[in-house]
């Protein structure tokens, strides 16, 4: 029935919009450090509960977050050694436990549509098939992404082994300049501030790399 179909589609869209608003409020509350989760009377409580669960748990334990934490910690340790006048021994060829798991590099979802070259490919990973590192030019062709020319992506995965450390440093440098105040950004900014002794608005010339990791 056409009318019923239109109604069902409209109803689903409204539900999705309510869910989106709630997730926005949830993340804003987290950034403010609010102890109570926002309340929404007009959305499905089960869906909202799942959003709260993922907002608190997924960010904390997701492998990409652990990768970033490990990287931030490594940079902070290197900065301390520099300040102490000690040689920096970056273990670029000795992956840490967080980085030691196999990673696969493959096409970013938008790459095929944009006919973009893939920078690197690796072995198949047990964690899933979608991870990618693409050249920066790839993302500059996407208008919305071009607005954030240095924006990298880390989506899942367990890191990209030791070869990605330099790219990871670019990611941290970029993340430092990102205006949002999420937990990941704060962690990296803290490491960056410790290592570079810079203010929050300092931008690095190395922030134009695009780092996409999907799993």
């Amino acid at each position: 029935m056409p009318g019923r179909g239109r109604f069902a589609r409209g109803h689903g869209d409204r539900e999705a919009e309510r869910t989106e608003r709630y997730v926005d409020e949830l993340m804003a509350a987290s950034d403010r450090g609010a102890s109570d989760a926002p309340v929404s009377a007009d959305a499905d409580p089960a869906v909202l509960g799942a959003a709260r669960r993922l907002q608190t748990d997924l960010t904390r334990v997701h492998p990409s977050f652990r990768f970033e934490e490990a990287l931030a910690g490594r940079l902070a340790a290197a900065a301390l050694r520099l300040r102490a006048g000690l040689p920096v021994e970056v273990e670029a060829d000795a992956p840490s436990r967080e980085l030691a798991e196999p990673a696969s590099l493959m096409a970013f979802p938008a790459a095929a549509a944009l006919s973009l070259p893939i920078a690197a490919r690796g072995t198949a990973a047990r964690g899933g098939p979608w991870r990618a590192i693409l050249p920066p030019a790839a993302f500059r062709r996407i208008p919305e992404v071009a607005a954030h020319p240095s924006r990298p992506l880390i989506v899942g995965g367990v890191g990209v082994a030791s070869a990605a450390i330099s790219i990871g440093a670019v990611y941290v440098a970029w993340r430092h300049s990102r205006p949002t105040s999420g937990r990941m950004g704060r962690a990296v900014r803290a490491a960056h501030d410790r290592s570079a002794g810079s203010g929050r608005n300092r931008r690095s010339g190395a922030t134009h790399g695009i780092f996409g990791v999907l799993s």
Binding site: A16, E17, E20, G49, P109, A110, P143, E144, I154, V155
Partner: protein
């Protein structure tokens, strides 16, 4: 040494976290991507839409359905 109540609470929290992660892993790929971009990378709907080459409406619906699936999964686990 942690009190028994603390240990029990910690175990329950870890179990809940593990269940949530498993639920995310079971999501279809397009929904899982949206969830990770939204919650881990803290991207907006418009940013995710640009990245995935979908409309913002499609991303909203994917996120809503993903959360519905996770909720159903967690409910089944409890039951």
């Amino acid at each position: 040494m942690a009190a028994p109540d603390d240990v029990a609470e910690l175990a329950a929290t870890r179990e809940a976290t593990s269940a949530a992660l498993r639920a995310v892993e079971r999501l279809p790929e397009d929904r899982r991507r949206v969830v990770v971009l939204r919650f881990v990378n803290e991207m907006s709907t418009s940013e995710i839409a640009a990245i995935l080459g979908r409309s913002e409406g499609a991303v909203r619906v994917l996120l809503h359905r993903a959360l519905r699936s996770v909720a159903d999964d967690l409910r089944r686990r409890v039951n």
